[in-house]
């Protein structure tokens, strides 16, 4: 082994462990949106100068670990761990009503772990098949971004409102970006991302400040949560996902993971619902269908998650998927370290820094680290961990930490002006989200339309 490889491998191992531990803990806090947490922390790792192998393993271990532990609030408390968990809520609730929420949790995360191991090699394979066309796709990228933005907007809950809202939102970004570059000579991107990601929080805080808006947020009582009890259902020290699922469940979960690994432009939530329905229609027994669908659905969110990151990253280097435009955004664009040139479409990011083989090896390493750390933890300590978070970690503390995070990252990127940009984008984006259901994924695509497509359109018009 050459010294370089050894260095890379140890960075990957260390950062992967860190990502798995950090995000396993974050996943326990219900409602922590994957974009709002994964994107800023990955960004931080990139900016701190961690080598590419370390960044990538950190990210992979992080998303898989968060995915495993966010099933805990979903199954035990009936509140979605984040948006990806929403499609599983109804089935999880039914199993909770039957008094067996722990089985919902165990089926879900065992399906997730199996799907993660399957989808990494498959996504690398599909990316390799797609890469001969990368140049053409790269040239057409500005137009593909518009199409993708419209498609993602239309398939969101906002429908046509989300599509039309892209126009003012893109103009807002173009305007802010132009103003920033005239004033400082540079451009911003992290502050835009952070503003979009924390938009719902910023909009809620502004609403709370206005007397009229305040009445809409007022609550008479504390929110109550019903924490389900827990029992152990396996023997031996370490649970084995292949034994938690029966044969049929393994087969359906693997098949769903395989199919969904090939798709990278569709909404992960839509794929999750679809795969769950397809598998569910083939299982006759009601109880068996409930538990099987839990594992298929969670497996599908895992595999679309991974494929949507890996395929654009390996084949194109451009963030052309809902995932890549959201949580994985810093892997593509985190100036000054990773860049996507707006005019030429030239990239300097993980796409250029890692080979297909490295993506495969470090991707699997990330999945393995997450599985080793988060899986036994979630299987064994789910109940205690959920209880601790609900009783000890106040929502106020989380909001306070995020307020600090926005300040620090924005000041780092562009001083007080950047803070203003994040606040503006957050307020507008958050309100669009709240009132018109224009979710953050649509807004991230809007950002890329503003920086990639708008200059092309202007050049065409002359």
């Amino acid at each position: 082994m050459s010294p370089d490889l050894l260095t890379d491998a140890s960075w990957a191992l260390g950062m992967g462990l860190l990502g798995a531990v950090v995000f396993a803990l974050i996943g326990l806090v219900s409602g922590t949106d994957e974009t709002a947490t994964v994107a800023p922390l990955t960004l931080l790792v990139v900016l701190l100068g961690v080598p590419a192998a370390g960044v990538f393993t950190f990210f992979m271990a992080g998303i898989v670990a968060k995915h495993i532990t966010h099933a805990i609030p979903t199954a035990l408390l009936g509140i979605p761990g984040d948006t990806m968990a929403v499609p599983m809520l109804r089935d999880a609730q039914m199993l909770r009503d039957l008094g067996v929420p722990h089985i919902a949790l165990r089926k879900a995360i065992s399906g997730g772990v199996i799907a993660a191991f399957i989808s990494v090699p498959l996504a690398v394979l599909f990316a390799w098949l797609l890469s001969p066309f990368a140049d053409q796709i790269g040239k057409a990228a500005p137009w593909i971004f518009v199409a993708a933005a419209v498609l993602i907007a239309y398939t969101s809950k906002g429908r046509l409102a989300a599509v039309l809202a892209l126009v003012p939102f893109v103009l807002l970004i173009v305007g802010l970006q132009t103003f920033v570059s005239q004033t400082t000579g540079g451009s911003l991107s992290i502050s835009f991302f952070l503003g979009i990601a924390t938009g719902p929080l910023i909009a809620d805080l502004f609403t709370a400040l206005s007397p009229a808006g305040r009445t809409t947020l007022r609550r008479d009582s504390r929110r109550s949560f019903d924490l389900a009890p827990d029992t152990r259902t396996w023997t031996g020290r370490v649970p084995n996902p292949l034994k938690v699922l029966d044969r049929k469940q393994i087969a359906y979960t693997s098949a769903a993971a395989g199919v969904s690994s090939a798709t990278f432009v569709f909404s992960p939530v839509a794929m999750t619902v679809l795969m769950g329905e397809v598998a569910g229609a083939r299982i006759k027994n009601g109880y068996h269908r409930l538990t099987s669908v839990m594992s298929v659905r969670n497996g599908t969110t895992e595999s679309t998650y991974i494929a949507e990151t890996l395929i654009p990253l390996i084949a194109l280097g451009l963030p052309l998927s809902p995932m890549a435009a959201g949580p994985a955004a810093p892997l593509f664009n985190a100036p000054p370290v990773y860049t996507v040139d707006a005019e030429t479409g030239q990239t300097n990011n993980l796409h250029n820094l890692l080979s297909g083989g490295e993506f495969l090896v470090y991707g699997l390493l990330g999945v393995a680290l997450a599985a080793i750390i988060a899986y036994p933890f979630a299987m064994t300590y789910a109940h205690r961990a959920a209880s601790f978070v609900m009783r000890k970690v106040s929502h106020e503390a989380i909001i306070g930490a995020f307020a600090g995070l926005i300040m620090v990252i924005c000041l780092y990127e562009g001083g007080l002006l950047a803070v203003g940009v994040a606040l503006t984008v957050g307020l507008v984006g958050g309100l669009l989200n709240k009132v018109f259901n224009v979710h953050t994924g649509v807004q991230f695509m809007g950002f890329y339309v503003a920086v990639l497509t708008v200059p092309q359109v202007l050049a065409l018009i002359g």
Binding site: L48, R219, G404
Partner: protein, 137 residues
């Protein structure tokens, strides 16, 4: 009158939220700015920014930790017991929305084993037999 508001998906006390945000910004910002000033004098300029960023992030974590100690969560957590009481009612409610839960006896042995370990087998079986009786009066 209560100060409870729903912000970002959970209930908070408005005064505590203001306190926590002041704490977050008040801890992280000076730490970042101080670290930026300090490291830009002693460290490589290309790394000084990164060190300052890391210090600022540590500030966020400290603020979150202090915030969690100062402001208790505004949640009521109850633990229900998964006794068999009400399970028949829960099954009826699920079947009304989801369709029949089915006969556990038709499942392969490993699945039946799992259902038995969960203590659900007899209840599912009883539910199924009740349907059979209703179907053939």
């Amino acid at each position: 009158m209560s100060n409870l508001l729903e912000i970002w998906g959970d209930t908070v006390d408005s005064r505590h939220t203001v306190g926590a945000i002041a704490l977050g910004i008040g801890t992280a910002t000076p730490l970042y700015l101080g670290a930026d000033y300090f490291f830009s004098r002693i460290a490589d300029p290309s790394l000084a920014g990164s060190y300052a960023l890391l210090t600022g992030l540590a500030g966020c974590l400290i603020a979150g930790f202090i915030g969690a100690r100062l402001f208790e969560p505004k949640r009521v957590v109850t633990e229900q017991d998964s006794g068999n009481e009400g399970r028949a009612a829960a099954m009826d409610a699920i079947e009304a929305e989801y369709g029949p839960l089915g006969d556990p006896a038709e499942l392969p042995e490993p699945v039946r084993e799992e259902i038995r370990a969960l203590g659900l087998y007899d209840d599912l079986r009883a539910q199924h037999e009740r349907h059979l009786k209703e179907a053939t009066p």
